[in-house]
């Protein structure tokens, strides 16, 4: 046993948490109780391991401790529990937890996968699924999750406990999803991971633009999912998208925390390692066929990231990819980005015409984005007075402080140049 550092232990615990929970859940079936027991085991490990060293098989240690806790709890209020659980309580824990010798790795893999699918159950609200995933699969404490989403810890605790209740009452069995179920529910899982990443990449509230803790966690979980389902193109696509987006993090903000748009970023600050990994991943995936929206978005991100200078960007390729994406996802935000790409290839006036059409549809009424994009295109078209007006309108309507500051600066810059 080596002298373990706290950081290493934390990493180990996060790594093992989903499989431990999966294994315990497979034995005891009760999501809420299993989850509590695993949290207790993780806590025990966090206290004991720095002092006594990391056990030889950390996962087996955690499973054993969690199962003992669970058995104790079941014994303590056996009278109020169901009969099956009573039966469990009569079986000594050492017998309950004979780890399967062969195919152990495979069982562990499936457990983590089932757990992820459980947490992202379509019956749960998205906010709840996000919280539960971070807690059960990510091994984050309720306090950490609450802090990341800027809500009181009690609120988050309630949300998580409600989620566990819904899982219990929905009767979702803890078993490996069938291929059909996997296909059906993978969408929800990817969506939840994508949301966790986005919240970390562009925080929806608070003064800071980035929440590295969350985007890092999303990448870690998506990596895990990719290891479990290496042949799924959308999983690989989402992981590539996250890597290719996160690679630009250091260049996205200036010294005062202000936003720096893609074409103005210092590209030497981009992470070459992440770009390389993301490009390799998406290139390998695209050659396999069966295209999905995460893959296409990753491909777009890759085209941006591969341009050494903003003016080297291959806009015709990006435009073609947005055309494909529009066929896969009917979203006004995709249509908006398509208009930008069109403007880059065919000129700003053509892009502005597309915006008119989008405006008429009215699907972006609640968003300041249409104004922001219109301002950019008007500026490119040399219609500066109109551009200033739209920058200002967008600044009035955004509720993100860094973004408002950015738009205000744009309006002021252009107005200065005009007068």
């Amino acid at each position: 046993m080596t002298e373990p550092s706290d950081r290493r232990i934390e990493h180990l615990l996060r790594e093992h948490a989903p499989r431990v929970l999966g294994a315990v859940l497979r034995k005891f079936r009760d999501f809420g109780a299993s989850e509590d027991a695993v949290q207790e085991a993780l806590l025990a490990a966090a206290m004991q391991w720095p002092r006594d060293g990391v056990p030889e098989d950390p996962r087996a240690w955690l499973i054993q401790v969690a199962s003992r806790r669970l058995t104790d709890h079941v014994r303590a209020d056996a009278a109020r529990r169901h009969r099956e659980e009573l039966v469990v309580s009569l079986v000594p824990p050492e017998f309950q937890l004979v780890m399967p010798r062969e195919g152990d790795e495979l069982v562990g893999r499936d457990d983590a996968l089932v757990l992820l699918f459980m947490c992202c159950h379509p019956a749960l609200s998205t906010a709840t699924a996000v919280a539960l995933t971070l807690r059960a699969v990510g091994g984050l404490t309720t306090g950490e999750i609450a802090k990341a989403f800027l809500v009181p810890e009690s609120t988050m605790a309630q949300r998580i406990s409600r989620a566990k209740q819904s899982i219990k009452s929905s009767g979702v069995p803890f078993q490996k999803p069938t291929p059909e179920e996997t296909a059906q529910r993978l969408g929800a899982v990817l969506h939840v991971l994508y949301l966790i990443f986005n919240e970390g990449y562009t925080a929806s509230s608070g003064p800071e633009l980035h929440r590295t803790d969350l985007s890092g966690e999303a990448i870690r979980l998506t990596r895990m999912l990719h290891a479990l389902l290496p042949d799924d193109g959308e999983v690989a696509g989402l992981l590539a998208l996250m890597l290719l987006t996160d690679a630009r993090r250091a260049a996205r903000t200036g010294p005062e925390g202000e936003l720096i748009p893609l074409d103005m970023q210092d590209r030497s600050l981009w992470s070459a390692g992440m770009i390389e990994e993301g490009v390799a991943l998406i290139s390998a995936t695209l050659s396999k066929g069966s295209l999905g929206m995460y893959q296409v978005q990753a491909a777009i991100a890759a085209v941006h990231d591969e341009a050494a200078r903003a003016e080297d960007t291959d806009w015709p390729q990006i435009l073609a990819l947005y055309g494909v994406l529009m066929g896969l996802a009917d979203s006004p935000m995709v249509a908006l980005n398509h208009a930008i790409a069109t403007a880059m290839v065919h000129g700003p006036e053509v892009g502005l015409e597309l915006l008119e059409a989008l405006d008429a549809e009215g699907r972006l009424e609640e968003s300041h984005r249409l104004d922001a994009v219109r301002a950019h295109l008007l500026e490119r078209a040399g219609r500066n007075a109109e551009a200033v007006a739209h920058y200002r309108k967008a600044a009035e309507r955004t509720t993100s402080l860094p973004e408002r500051n950015y738009l205000l600066t744009q309006a002021a810059r252009l107005n200065d140049a005009r007068t």
Binding site: P207, G257, E396, R404, N405, A412, D416
Partner: protein
């Protein structure tokens, strides 16, 4: 004994979006000042929270109707002033809270001249004294 104060930055309604019409350097200087100010107060441990609020065009005034359902008005055209943002600080004395408010009030405006905005300083009430509980 630490005391909590809420510092409310009130902008005249006409001046609400006026930053929108400032020259670029002035906008920059104002933003840099506000970011630096929050950092400095966080550094001294006096800042509990600070938020800027969306422009008043998006504000709604809400009250419950007879049936208890919310009735919302658009913006409040009658208001002369509106709350632009606030800080909650924890300080040793009211004088310190006033000093912080004065510093924020002097944030640079158009042409770099201090804005001298009105900042309302009010103590955040605490729980009852122990002998009353």
């Amino acid at each position: 004994m630490k005391m909590k104060y809420m510092l409310m930055m009130n902008s005249p309604r006409e001046g609400a979006g006026s930053i929108i019409h400032w020259p670029k350097e002035d906008v920059r200087a104002h933003i840099a000042f506000m970011v630096g100010f929050a950092k400095k107060l966080a550094g001294t441990g006096e800042l509990l929270t600070a938020e800027g609020l969306a422009f008043p065009d998006q504000a709604k005034r809400v009250r419950a109707g007879a049936d208890g359902k919310p009735i919302t008005d658009g913006v409040f055209p009658e208001s002369k002033e509106f709350l632009a943002g606030y800080w909650i600080v924890e300080v040793d004395s009211p004088e310190r809270a006033y000093a912080i408010a004065a510093e924020a009030s002097a944030a640079p405006g158009r042409g770099g001249a201090p804005l001298n905005m009105d900042i309302e300083v009010r103590q955040v009430m605490s729980g009852p004294p122990p002998d009353m509980m």
